[in-house]
Structure formats: structure tokens, C-alpha cells
Symmetry: C2
Subunit: 492 residues, 2 copies
């Protein structure tokens, strides 16, 4: 892995000063203006794909096609935020006109919208060198929210991070964004330093539970605590109900293996457990599919080490049977698979319910519906939970789904959790430890809200109001007016 | 002050168990059902006013009329949340229908709404024995969000807290809410104990900076950190521009004094500083009005002690001139007032910009526009900032308002910050130290969001979806469908 020298204290001071200086101008830019900056960055990213992808292949060991898809996803994500911004929807305008007869006290004219928090520190992830890194969802949502962004690069792809930053910074500058709107810094201690700096007003993180908790502590214990939005770990259990098993046995076996081994199992939404009814008879098929998956190198040495340590831990557990024992050579890691039962899972929950990041999963057999519900109740917070069901499973599903809704941010039916669409309705984040901080989403349009705060303008004359809150709804945005959502102008 | 015995460990265990047991049923209740419980609680509160008000007078020393108004405000607040809940708006439904042609990957059907976090711990405030206590905004918003509530009573009004809880608990039970939906506990250590309990999923607090930070630390450093929404301290600066001064001198003098002495200065939105242009000539009038304010007892001994200590600190500052020196007898506290200049304020900011909770304020004279902007830039986070301006002040206001918007949750024009309307657009919360945790509002309809988290349902069959997310929009609620806000049904 090529290393880049850490950002020096002087350099960090420079980028923090620049970000703080840029903040008022970034915030004050009209929605359409800021959107134009973001569209420009998206276009430049696409245009630079041929140059960036080889660098990404070299540093991440991920295949070219996947990385090209990730650039498309990232530029699409930037454009989605820019569109939502330009149309005013990200600012959530709410207006209550004056009501002199309100009880118990007369109500003044109140107009509220979301405004940016200020400079945001983004901690990039290893497993998506584009989509959760310099040009990823945290950066896109913070820029759209109106915040300058400082990205702490992931040590797994430092040169790519520099290259992407150069593309983005140039595009932003040429589109008219102030200097200091985006910068990248390198070094774990530099990241902690920046997180404690009063000029940083919020932070987003994607990574391990231990790393995320340590940074959350820094953010929470500053003299002026700031919001820290961490996406940490997830097991993503998948439950197969008996009706679905009868209807789609082979599809389920193949889909499960494809999902847990996708990208060498390096997805935060990898299904880490598959609940199957005892006597499912699917073992042979699943094992054969898992053994068929081609070996491939992991993202980097640190992740490879973490994976082998996690596997060693699992292999040492009593009552956990190895169905497939993969090879963990550094040059190419092949899939592993384990098997256990619900009673054993309950007994050994502390060990078995710990995420093992890589191409391994556990088949858990449940003897009856009670064991199924008991297993579902065992999980802490997750990004996702998946159910495979048929019409025959409706009663069980009706009882199972609320248990999963209570523990997961996204509940998937007859599909697999890997593959996260970027849209308005997406939710990527769940109860702790899936996320830490107030439970948020780090993917999808509402992710911008993490980096905004509401401000209410009371009786402010029209000429001094932000455009979005004036009587005339010039952007034709949906606003909540006196409780009702409407696009109408305000008339007095 | 009458004391009640602290809640015992056994009693706390009982109410926590009951709250956790109630959580799924409270969450699963249909919006209209839960709304009916809250309406019932509001009606019972109104009906019990004659019984509750004398108790409140006795424990808080606040006048009867004010307390009757506070009950009306609290029951109105409960009803506003119940209405927003019943119509579905609190759940923020968002639907993206499947798009097999989406790039780079096909999009499944995604339907997202807000669901409750689980049992919420509310720390009641002293200064609003109803509106920020057992039946206050935190309780109303958490119940509407679908969370059982545990209120840690304020030691200033323990018997009233018990009495209000009895009214509310009875009303909730009779309306069909599960046992454990609401409970009150007493004792500071009991509150800390509860905040660390894994069954508590979020917390709301209104009180001092020191108290709020200590509790924030407990919430953030649990093995499973939970969101802590604290409303702490605020100075609420008010700026008078020259045009407004010419137009409405006497109105401004009278309005300022009335606002900072309202409720014996015991409002979190009390204007703690009044910026006036040098040579304003308003001193005599302000002093006369302040000296005219009738003395009245403060809420309780602890607050009285804090106020006298704060005043002593201010009286000892060099360069801070006493314009009115009040009397701080326990039986009746009269107003105080100080005067200084912007350069002096900047020099002594650490001392002079500390909130002093009670009927005192500081007149700060600014020599020119630069001093005005310098003063505005000096403040940390505030709940409110106020500007008095006229048409002649438009240029100065256009530069001043963005500075204030960056530092306050609510910007008031030609009014006073005391008196917080409860509506959709209200924002009561600003950058630290006005609030801690992600910046939120503790007043107004969007306060419910603090106690909710988003869940996305992917490809879930219609019959298993929550009512609000089904194709047929039976509640006729505004939903964001494929990016557009609409009340239409989904047709495929």
C-alpha cells in the first residue's frame, strides 16, 4: 500500500481556516447556484473516470467494472442532491402566518427552514473508494446542505483520494464555489485533531464500531459537543420462511451466496446470518455455490488481518460447525460458511453476533416459529433485516416484521440487502451499533438533514427573508403553510 | 419547599420494565388511536385546572393567571401533536416506486416512514411547571412519536408533578393506552440511573448548561450511546437599529423592560443584552420602567441562590455600570440593570456573556455599525436573537441578519423573544450552548422527530406495510412519491 505523508499541523490549520472562511459564502449561495457547483463536480468526476479507475483498482484491489459502477453511482448521487437542493426541497420550508386570535397567545408570523451547520468533517470508508469516500454520500449531502467539507482520507486509498479531491476541487472552483469548499487531509491523528477543532461543526463517519465509538467520544466530549453521525457495524440477518423455501429453494441458495460473497464480503449490508427452518435440505446447494465463488484479494492488509482474526475466533467456537472452510491467502481469499442452531446462537450470542467483515456467513437453523421469533428478538441494531416469504407465510411474517422493524433501518422482502439504491426513500442506518449519534441515514436525500439545523424567522419583512420563505413561492417548492403542504403563494 | 421521597431502585425498575413492555403496543397503535389517547390527556388536564393551579402556585410562586395560561398552552400543545399525528404528517411518509431502468442499478420499491425510538426519559424544567414539565412539550412530542415516557420531576414542584402525572396516567389508561405509557420518578440520582438504563432509548432535557452537559455525557458514554436533546442556556441578544429607535423609542424601552422582567426574568428566552446606538438617550426611560416593576419571589431557593450569585459576579466586574440595583430579598426580587459598551463587552466576553437567570439585563452601547457587527459576531449559540429596525435600517439589517441566523434558532423582528408560539414553524433550539446534541427544536410540531427514526420497507407486500405507506392513501396524508409531494394513491 502506497503511503502518503500525513497532513502537517500547518496544513491542517490552513484547510480549517479556509473552510471556516468559505462557510458563510457557501451557506449564502442561492440553492440553484450551489446546485450548479455540485453538478459541475459530478460531470468532472464522470469525465475523469478513465484516469481514476486504474488508480482505484491498484489501491483497493476491486475489479474495474465495479469501480466504474461506483463512479456512476457517486456522480448520480451528487446530481440527486443537487436536484433536491435546486428545487428547494432540502430546506424544508414551513410557514405559519400570523394569527392574532390564537389561544392562549396571539401567534406572530413564523417562517422556518433548514440552514447549514458549517464546516463538516467526513471520515472516508475503505470499502467504497468512491461512493463512501471523497466524492461520496457524506460529501454530497454536506455540500448540498451548504457546508464546506473536509474529508479525512481512508489510508487504504490515499492517492485515489488526492486525485478525486483534485478533480472535485477544480470543478467546484471553476463553477464559482469559494476556495475552501472542499479539502482532503491524511492521517488518523490529523482526523482526531480536526474533530476537536471548534471550526468543525458536525462529522460523518463510515467504518468499524471501535473506530466510530472512539471518534463519537471525541465529538461528544468537546467543550462544545457537535453531532457525530457514525455508520458502524451490522449483521444484516436474513430469515427464510417455510413457504418461500418451498417456492424458491434454489433461487434463495444462490442469492444468499452471491450476496454474502459480493465484493469479497466487504459490504456493510452483507447478510451475516441466514435463518433457515430445520430440515431445509438446502445445505448441499449452498455449500456448492459457496465453494464455487472465485477467490479474490481483500481491500487491504488491515482488513485482511481483521477478517482472518474474526474467522479464527468463529472457528474456535464450540457448536459452530464449519460448512465451508475457505482459504485466506493474501493473494486471494475464498468464501467460508458456518452452521449452528437458534438455541446455540442464543447461548453464544456475545461471540456469534459480532460482525466478521469478509466473505463468511452463518446458517442458523430454527426448529419452529418460537425459535424464529426468539432469534429475531436477539439482534441489536442493524442496517438491514431480510425476509423471504410467500403468501403462505403471511401470519408468521406479520409477527416477524415488527420485530425486525424495531431493530433495523431497512427491511427487505424477497431480495438481498447488498445494493443500496440512492433515492428519497432510502434509509441506511439503524439502532446502535448500526449507527451512533441520533439515528440517521447516510444514504439518500434525507441524509442532508444531518448537516442542517432549523432557523425560524419571526415577523421578518419580506425583503429580508430568504427567497424560499417569501410570500411569492418563486421556486415553486412544496411548503407546509399553516399545517397544509402546498405550492401556493402566500396571500394576505 | 415540600420534598417527596426519591423513587427507590425497586420502583425505578418497575417503571422501566413497564415502559419497555408498553413500547411495542404504543408504537403499534394506529395514528388515530394514539391521537385519541393524547386528546383525552389534554381534556383531563383542562378539567383538572382548578385542582392543579393552587398546587402550582404554592410550589412555584408563579401567579395564578400565568399558570392557567400555561395549562391552556400545554393542553393546546398536546392537541396540536395529536392532530399532526392523526393526519399522518408526523410520520413523514416517503415512497419511491420500483424503477427497473434506474442507473447504475435497478431500483426496488422503497417506502420509508418515521417510527418511534422506544421509551424516552424527560427531564422536567423548573420555570414552566406545566409547559416544560410532566405534561409539557417533551412528553407531548414523545407520546405523539409513539414512545412511552418517563418524566424525571423537577425538585421545584414535586407534588404538582405527581398530581399532573395522576391526571395524565388516568386519562391515558381510560382512553386505552397500555399501562406504562407514562410515569414520573423523583430524585437527581434516579434520573442519572434511568439515563444509563438500556431500556431508555432517548432523552429530552431543559435546564442549566452544567446540568445538561453532565447528562449529555452520561447519554453519550453509555455502551450503546443514545440521543440526548438538551435545551441549556441562552443570552437572547436584542439589537436596536437607529431608524427603529427614532420611530418607536418609548415602545422599545417599555417592551424591553417588560420582556426581560417577565415571570421574574425566569424565561430561557429572556433578552439578556440590549444593543443600543451610543447617544440613544433612552436610559432614563428604561431605568424608570425597570424600577417600576413589582418585586416578586423567584421559583425556588436554588434558583434564587443562583441568581444572587450571578448578580454578585456581574456587580464585581470593572466597566459594567449598574443602572438599576434591585433588591434580592427572598420574599420579593426586584429588577436589576447594567450598562457597558461593545469594546468592553468584547474584552470581558467570558464573564459578560454568561447567562444570569433572573430579572437582570445589560444595555450595551455601540458606537457605529462596525461595533454592531462585531457584537453580533461575538455570540455563541442562542435560542433567539432580536432586531428592531425600520425601513431606514434595511442595509444594516441585511448584513446583521445573516450573522444572527448563524448563531440563533429564532430571529425576531420588531418584537421580543419571550413568548414562544407552539406551531409547525416554531424553532426553539440553536447552536451550542443553546442546545446540545444534534441541533433540534423542543417546541413545535417538528419536535416529535427527536424521538423517531426512519425505517425503509423494501418490496414489502401491501398487506404487510404500515397503513401510511400502502398504495391507497387512506389517511389522505401528503407523501413524497418519486420526489414529488402528493396526496394521490399509488397506481401501478
Amino acid at each position: 500500500m502506497t503511503k502518503l505523508p500525513n497532513t502537517t499541523a500547518d496544513q491542517l490549520e490552513q484547510v480549517l481556516t479556509a473552510a471556516a472562511a468559505a462557510a458563510p459564502a457557501v451557506a449564502a449561495a442561492l440553492p440553484a447556484e450551489r446546485a450548479a457547483w455540485i453538478f459541475a463536480a459530478a460531470d468532472s468526476l464522470d469525465a475523469a473516470a478513465d484516469r481514476l479507475v486504474p488508480l482505484a483498482v491498484e489501491e483497493s484491489a476491486l475489479p474495474e467494472q465495479r469501480l466504474r459502477g461506483e463512479i456512476a453511482r457517486s456522480s448520480g448521487q451528487l446530481r440527486l442532491f443537487a436536484e433536491a437542493l435546486a428545487e428547494g426541497a432540502l430546506h424544508e420550508p414551513i410557514i405559519d402566518t400570523a394569527d392574532p386570535d390564537a389561544e392562549p397567545i396571539p401567534r406572530p408570523d413564523l417562517r422556518r427552514m433548514l440552514v447549514p451547520l458549517g464546516p463538516v468533517l467526513v471520515f472516508a470508508a475503505s470499502n467504497f473508494p468512491f461512493a463512501f469516500s471523497v466524492c461520496g454520500g457524506d460529501t454530497a449531502s454536506a455540500l448540498a446542505a451548504g457546508c464546506p467539507v473536509l474529508v479525512k482520507s481512508h489510508p487504504g486509498h490515499p492517492r485515489l483520494s488526492e486525485a478525486v479531491a483534485e478533480v472535485m476541487v477544480t470543478a467546484l472552483r471553476e463553477a464559482g464555489a469559494p476556495e475552501g469548499t472542499l479539502a482532503v487531509v491524511h492521517g488518523d491523528r490529523v482526523g482526531v485533531e480536526a474533530l476537536g477543532d471548534p471550526r468543525i461543526k458536525a462529522s460523518g463517519f463510515t467504518g468499524s464500531v471501535a473506530g466510530g465509538l472512539a471518534l463519537h467520544e471525541v465529538a461528544a466530549n468537546r467543550p462544545d459537543p457537535i453531532p457525530f453521525y457514525g455508520e458502524l457495524g451490522s449483521l444484516n440477518p436474513a430469515f427464510v420462511l417455510t413457504g418461500a423455501l418451498e417456492e424458491r429453494r434454489s433461487e434463495i441458495a444462490a442469492g444468499f451466496v452471491a450476496s454474502y460473497t459480493l465484493g469479497v464480503g466487504q459490504f456493510c449490508t452483507k447478510p451475516g446470518l441466514l435463518l433457515l427452518p430445520t430440515g431445509h435440505g438446502l445445505e448441499k446447494e449452498i455449500v456448492a455455490a459457496a465453494e464455487d465463488v472465485a477467490a479474490a484479494p481483500m481491500l487491504n492488509e488491515r482488513i485482511h488481518q481483521g477478517y482472518t482474526a474474526g474467522l479464527a475466533r468463529l472457528r474456535a467456537r464450540d457448536g459452530l460447525e464449519a460448512l465451508v472452510t475457505g482459504d485466506e491467502s493474501e493473494g486471494g481469499v475464498s468464501a467460508s460458511l458456518f452452521k449452528t442452531t437458534v438455541p446455540r446462537l442464543i447461548e453464544d450470542a456475545a461471540e456469534l453476533l459480532e460482525e466478521c467483515f469478509g466473505p463468511t456467513s452463518i446458517v442458523v437453523e430454527y426448529a419452529d416459529d418460537d425459535e424464529l421469533y426468539a432469534a429475531a428478538s436477539l439482534f441489536r441494531g442493524n442496517l438491514t433485516a431480510t425476509v423471504h416469504g410467500s403468501d403462505d407465510d403471511a401470519d408468521v411474517a406479520a409477527r416477524l416484521l415488527p420485530l425486525l422493524e424495531g431493530r433495523a433501518g431497512r427491511v427487505v422482502w424477497n431480495g438481498w440487502p447488498t445494493g443500496v439504491a440512492v433515492s428519497w426513500a432510502m434509509q441506511h442506518g439503524g439502532p446502535f451499533p448500526a449507527t451512533v449519534g441520533s439515528i440517521h441515514t447516510s444514504v439518500g436525500t434525507t441524509a442532508a438533514r444531518r448537516f442542517q439545523r432549523p432557523v425560524c424567522f419571526q415577523n421578518i419583512p419580506g425583503g429580508l427573508l430568504p427567497e424560499l420563505l417569501r410570500d411569492r413561492n418563486s421556486l415553486n417548492v412544496s411548503r407546509r403553510v399553516n399545517g397544509e403542504i402546498t405550492r401556493r403563494d402566500i396571500t394576505s
